[in-house]
């Protein structure tokens, strides 16, 4: 259902764009193609990796480590993984979904997603180069703390 909605919207906007400018529409499709091909290697790898790992690791283990009952320790684990890894969103969401389906807690997963997106440990040196140490520390530090707030609220709303 949602997929049909997405295709309809995309087709509609594509049509509008085509009427307004053929040139730009062509460029947009090229951008789309390039971005898609860009994530495809990692995307296909993570889907297989998830399947392999989930076939070997039991849901009980996932539940024990980062399940809803794992509380603060589970959140700490996912926040650290989210902060230090550099996973593109298009790769992270299938991963998050599989983890959720296999016993991970909503709060723990939201911490993971939030820190992944907002906190950049690997990109920090680059950020310092662009914006200085103080900004980088403040931005990432606040984002780290805020990720827990987001998770607690979202975890409270979504059961």
């Amino acid at each position: 259902m949602f997929t049909v909605f997405l295709y309809t919207i995309a087709a509609g906007f594509l049509f509008l764009s085509f009427i307004k400018s053929r040139e730009k529409t062509k460029k947009a499709l090229m951008v789309a193609r390039k971005a898609f091909l860009n994530i495809l290697p990692e995307f296909s790898a993570i889907l297989i990796l998830i399947a392999v790992v989930l076939s070997l690791v039991s849901p009980q283990i996932i539940q024990h480590l980062i399940g809803g009952q794992s509380g603060a320790s589970g959140m700490l684990i996912t926040s650290i993984i989210g902060s230090i890894t550099l996973i593109p969103g298009f790769i992270a969401f299938p991963l998050a979904k599989s983890l959720l389906d296999n016993g991970a807690g909503v709060t723990q997963i939201v911490v993971f997603i939030s820190t992944l997106m907002m906190v950049g440990f690997v990109t920090a040196p680059l950020e310092i180069k662009y914006f200085g140490k103080r900004q980088t520390l403040l931005r990432n530090g606040m984002a780290f703390v805020y990720s827990f707030i987001v998770a607690l609220i979202v975890g409270g709303i979504v059961k």
Binding site: T3, Y7, A28, P41, F43, S55
Partner: protein, 179 residues
């Protein structure tokens, strides 16, 4: 050659799956079914999302927006910064050069931080993908909680950095072209 190398991990994982098939067929079958299912689920939604991503990239007038984010841009500047980040694509480090352009065009410092946050967490194409993977409830709840937070954090970072330091940063980017 480079293209093949990018698929090396995929190939390695396929090999692992084959080995597992030989070792324990039931396990191999399980993995193959799981992989097939997620490919079907995930790959199907990607084409429209990437088309929207391309359209956003082409049609959102980035330069014009950036010129309207100055120190007196107020609420409108904040809204535009969020929009600028949400209409984007790509990882956070791609946003840094855009943020430098903002600095050069004298954008308010808070707006730059808000833009970075919006880019990292409110990207529209990614929100659509998130909704298809994790459902609307979780996606909308996350976005709704993030929105006030990133505005607040942007303003807070701005107020926490002394003016001379901000001026120095701006000057650095004015003179250095290829950071």
């Amino acid at each position: 050659m480079n293209k093949i190398r990018r698929y090396l991990l995929t190939l390695a994982l396929v090999t692992v799956t084959i080995v597992l098939w030989l070792w324990k067929p039931s396990l191999g079958l399980d993995i193959t079914i799981k992989t097939g299912k997620s490919f079907k689920e995930m790959l199907g939604v990607l084409p429209p999302i990437f088309i929207l991503l391309g359209l956003l990239e082409v049609w959102v007038p980035r330069e014009t927006i950036i010129r309207n984010l100055g120190d007196n841009s107020g609420v409108r500047g904040i809204a535009l910064s969020i929009l600028l980040g949400a209409a984007a694509a790509g990882p956070l480090y791609v946003a840094f050069p855009v943020a430098v352009t903002m600095m050069r065009k004298e954008a308010r410092f808070a707006n730059i931080i808000i833009f970075l946050f919006s880019w990292s967490t409110l990207k529209l194409p990614l929100l659509l993908f998130e909704a298809s993977a994790l459902g609307w409830n979780m996606t909308l709840a996350r976005a709704a909680v993030n929105l006030p937070g990133i505005i607040f954090m942007g303003l807070l970072v701005d107020y926490s950095i002394p003016l001379p330091e901000k001026r120095k940063l701006r000057e650095l980017h004015m003179t250095e072209n290829n950071l």
